[in-house]
């Protein structure tokens, strides 16, 4: 279930944002028992590195990620921890 969900999330992000790098982590285990976890949707952490974010404020970047995942927000995702960087920012942070 986790692997399939992660694959669906990665696929949707690839389609929408043509990212250089994606990393999706299922963080649901940390939220078991939490009210939001009861409907079966999960908590995920996503890192997306994409040119599409260049020149955009964090709000706009997160909106793009949410838009890419809009359908999955209804079925698979309850909460999302988002890190959205341009390739330049990612390389600067990784050094």
């Amino acid at each position: 279930m986790t692997a399939e969900r992660i694959a669906r999330i990665e696929h949707a992000l690839h389609q929408a944002l043509v990212p250089e790098l994606i990393n999706v982590i299922d963080d649901s285990a940390r939220h078991i028992g939490h009210a939001g976890a009861r409907d079966g949707r999960g908590h995920f952490k996503v890192l997306v590195v994409a040119e599409a974010f260049r020149g955009q404020a964090p709000l706009a970047r997160h909106r793009q990620v949410y838009a890419a995942l809009a359908d999955l927000m209804q079925t698979d995702i309850h909460a999302l921890n988002i890190k959205a960087l341009t390739p330049d920012e990612w390389h600067a942070a990784a050094v």
């Binding site: 939220h31 939490h34 009210a35 939001g36 964090p58 709000l59 997160h62 909106r63 949410y66 809009a70 927000m73 909460a79 999302l80 921890n81 988002i82 890190k83």
Partner: protein, 107 residues
Amino acid sequence: MDIMKHIKQQIESNPIILYMKGTPEFPQCGFSSQTAQALLTTGAQFAYVNVLEHPDIRQNLPHYADWPTFPQLYVNGELVGGCDIVLDMYQNGELQQLIDGAAQSQA
């Protein structure tokens, strides 16, 4: 009143308003808790709405500013963001600046 009008009025009449799950004292979600904590460190007074007690707001607020999740922080009528954005701004000092500015325009 129409729920979208009600939300608009709430956001426009409160310079700093946090829509969250639970309350700052008894948050019921980790993301809401962290966001409220960051906001409390600014020392400013802020309004909050517990969306768990207002299902109509919980259902409709995501359409108001095209933002699907909670918490949501609004300052001077504008969506600032959710937990990740508010925490980043807390860490780089921008949150304090923004809140100080909002508190000043209120005075």
